[in-house]
Symmetry: C2
């Protein structure tokens, strides 16, 4: 798997990966009805650094890395990852997270924090735990799942 | 105490209240070196609704209210409050928080969440607890306090 910074020209492929996840609204607390331009402005725009993952010439995932807070909180990184629907279960998220941990270290961050991991997204929760993240907070009912109703949002954290 | 939405013309008074707190960098994970325009764009700009608190014709505090997340997370409100240095200890933060809880209910929010309450800010932590907030998360070392070094950041939450 090859992971590199996103570049001009990647927009169509990134949109193809993230649009179904935004529309489904099951895992990200982001607007379901964002246009292509709104979504790409968020995913690729400051303060995000965006990356894409390719496998055999095909793009299978994308993630962004940013400071989780500013000022006295800017030593903690934050990321969001999305895997192409037909590439789920092939280690793409794991590879992207490991890549992001290295990138975050290289940028001088000392920890990584996820603010709102949807508790019903058990595949993600298990993967982050396997990669060293601890659940340091549970916000009751903070996410409205389209099928499950109110579900908890987890705060997950690890040092780098 | 009178609390009302911030209006054009309030900028100088808001800046006078928030500048010392930003510069001190002890309680907010925001840039210490923001200019007046940068700080006011944040405090007063979308998606914030900003308010000011006055006491006897003098402005003693300001707060903002916003959705804490978007999409499936936009039923949870988030606020930030700053009290003028010489008005601390007179119930301004309590009055603003109670006002914000009413405002959030009126806007249809179902809960309120603070993402990064600096644990060393014991006055704030105690006040939020007294007003019904529970600590639902503790992020280790997530805030670099200028005097104390790395301190924990608390996630606090209450339903409305």
């Amino acid at each position: 798997m090859m992971i590199r910074p996103a570049m001009a020209g990647d927009e169509d492929r990134i949109w193809a990966i993230i649009e179904p996840v935004l529309r489904a609204g099951e895992t990200y607390a982001l607007p379901h009805d964002w246009s292509r331009d709104e979504a790409l402005a968020f995913w690729l725009g400051a303060p995000h650094s965006a990356y894409i993952a390719g496998d055999g010439g095909r793009m299978v995932g994308t993630y962004y890395l940013q400071p989780n807070q500013r000022g006295g909180g800017d030593h903690v990184a934050n990321c969001g990852y999305i895997v192409a629907g037909d590439a789920i279960g092939r280690g793409v998220a794991r590879a992207m997270c490991l890549h992001s941990l290295d990138e975050a270290r290289a940028k001088g961050f000392r920890a990584m924090q996820f603010n709102s991991v949807v508790a019903s997204n058990s595949r993600a929760v298990a993967l982050w735990q396997a990669l060293g993240f601890a659940t340091v907070g549970t916000v009751p009912g903070a996410f409205r799942h389209p099928a499950l109703g109110d579900v908890d949002a987890l705060v997950m954290h690890r040092t780098l």
